[in-house]
């Protein structure tokens, strides 16, 4: 098994993908779907770019310090 990319968003402290946090940030998500759904994978919110991105994405603002939720 491969380690997740050490500089991917999933390892960045600006990235939030804890399900309840994601649901709080996206009102209506839990009404007809869920942050615990398989379709969401490990996507989360990037606080730097204000984007909803895949955990495997990368960018130049990477700042390690937070692990996968």
């Amino acid at each position: 098994m491969r380690l997740p990319d050490s500089r991917a968003c999933g390892q960045c402290k600006h990235f939030q993908n804890e399900p309840l946090e994601v649901e709080a940030a996206l009102p209506g998500l839990s009404s007809l779907s869920s942050a615990y759904a398989a379709v969401r994978c490990s996507d989360g919110i990037c606080a730097v770019h204000e984007r909803y991105v895949a955990a495997s994405s990368i960018c130049s603002a990477f700042d390690e310090g937070y692990a996968f939720a």
């Binding site: 779907s33 759904a37 969401r40 770019h49």
Partner: protein, 465 residues
């Protein structure tokens, strides 16, 4: 399940086993709960017994005294059923990271309210007063959440998707695998036509109105494939802005709730059969939970509203074939294709997505596997029975109890939809996204109607007989 890999002093990476996914996503917990109940039911049936004692459900009544009598006679069973659901969903919720001490009190209230709605649906005047349980649950929930508000402590118990997915797995037990094989290809063809057309219209309209392509794609998938789930899957795959995902979610939820009321109402006015109406709802509703609320409502009209033909279950069956088999299962493909296009063709955003074919499986709605396994198990178990024996032995001891479990799970979900929908919290949508999405809704509804009631009408009518 998780391993810690030291990479540099003071820096840690968490490496999770892929098997951990089996306990971290509600899709898998819906499978474990649904198939677990089916396994116990089948084992008891094979041993000459039945799970029906605990699968208690309200019976038809005409006076309140009848309700009191039912509760008096079956009170212990209702209590036992609560314990069963609380343990099953409680373990699942705890594994997902929801504190069980917060989940259980909230779920108790959900269970009691769902029980009241289930009883209401069994009133012999319910259809006369348009008191179909899904619509009442939704209307009541919306009223409460948007007026007095829902207390915070109730929120952990309102897991719409967890309940609806469990119900869909249980629904598989009521659909023979042969029926899925027979109807599946038609559902896929019809759904593909509508999905491609709807996505194309929304995407083109959004881009034409000057919206960002990532928002256009997120809106398009939300309208064409699987509603809010489609919007978040593609929003993440293409790296849409957070507020763009919020806008897409808001639009999908608002239109999905409108359609819960409109589609059954129009179908009823036109006297569509349950199979045809279910297919139309499956083509033109945006989310599973919303569509099942509409389809179950319409199924309830069969036998109680003059002129509506077909079996009550046909609406839900046709809906599920169309929505789950025809649309939901393709979300991974949509996400992969759109992420590939976003990575290679669209303007860069500062965040670089990694497009991979693994996306197709990673985003696959796994609960569909449980639905198919449930169907296969029941098909195998019942294959030795002729029709008369099936009706006399299998239905009361095995099929009906599983159907009761399913109705409970769906009722929990319908109630939770309204209670979790707080319209004032929705993102400010803006005129252009609204127009783009609404054009798609119009095309979707008309095309879905024509295909369900004209092109494939004979097929869907046959499903209902």
């Amino acid at each position: 399940m998780a391993e810690i890999a030291q990479t540099a002093p003071g820096r840690v990476l968490v490496r999770r086993s892929p098997w951990g996914e089996l306990f971290r996503k509600e899709d898998w917990w819906a499978i474990w709960i649904g198939l677990g109940l089916i396994a116990v039911a089948v084992a008891l049936f094979a041993g000459g017994s039945s799970i029906k004692w605990i699968a208690v459900a309200p019976q038809k009544w005409s006076r309140l005294a009848d309700v009191a009598q039912q509760l008096q006679v079956h009170g212990v069973q209702y209590a036992a059923l609560f314990v069963l659901w609380a343990v099953a969903f409680g373990i699942g919720a705890a594994a997902l990271g929801i504190k069980i001490s917060r989940f259980l009190p909230a779920f108790l209230l959900v269970y009691l309210a769902a029980g009241a709605l289930y009883f209401l649906g069994q009133w012999d005047q319910a259809a006369h007063y348009n008191l179909e349980p899904p619509l009442v649950a939704l209307g009541l929930g919306l009223l409460v959440s948007n007026t007095v508000g829902v207390p915070r402590w109730l929120e952990p118990g309102m897991r719409v998707e967890f309940y609806i997915k469990t119900g869909i797995v249980l629904l598989g037990a009521g659909l023979p695998l042969t029926l899925i094989a027979w109807a599946g290809p038609v559902a896929i063809v019809q759904a593909a036509i509508v999905s491609l057309a709807t996505f194309g219209v929304i995407y083109a309209a959004a881009v034409g109105l000057g919206l960002d392509r990532r928002l256009a794609a997120t809106l398009g998938t939300g309208g064409a494939v699987c509603g809010v789930s489609g919007a978040i899957a593609v929003g993440g795959a293409v790296g849409a802005k957070k507020e763009e995902v919020s806008v897409a979610i808001s639009l999908v939820v608002v239109w999905a709730i409108v359609m819960i009321f409109v589609l059954p109402l129009v179908s009823r006015a036109l006297g569509l059969s349950t199979g045809v109406a279910g297919a139309w709802i499956g083509t033109s509703e945006f989310a599973d939970a919303a569509g099942l609320a509409a389809a179950q409502t319409y199924g309830g009209y069969a036998g109680s509203v003059p002129g509506i033909e077909g079996s009550p279950d046909a609406a839900v069956s046709a809906f599920t074939l169309m929505k789950v088999i025809g649309r939901d299962v393709w979300i991974g493909v949509w996400a992969f294709v759109l992420s590939l296009i976003a990575t290679t063709r669209w303007e860069r955003t500062g965040v670089q997505n990694k497009s991979s074919a693994a996306e197709i499986w990673n985003r696959f709605p796994k609960f569909v596997l449980g639905f198919l396994v449930a169907s296969a198990v029941l098909t195998l178990v019942t294959r030795g029975f002729d029709y008369a024996a099936y009706k006399k032995e299998v239905v009361p001891a095995l099929v009906a109890p599983l159907q009761a479990f399913r109705t409970w799970a769906f009722t929990f979900a319908f109630l939770s939809i309204g209670l979790t929908t707080r319209l004032r919290e929705f993102a400010s949508i803006g005129a252009r996204p609204f127009y783009a999405f609404t054009i798609g809704v119009v095309v979707n509804v008309i095309l879905g109607f024509v295909l369900s009631t004209q092109v494939f009408a004979a097929f869907w009518n046959r499903l209902g007989q």
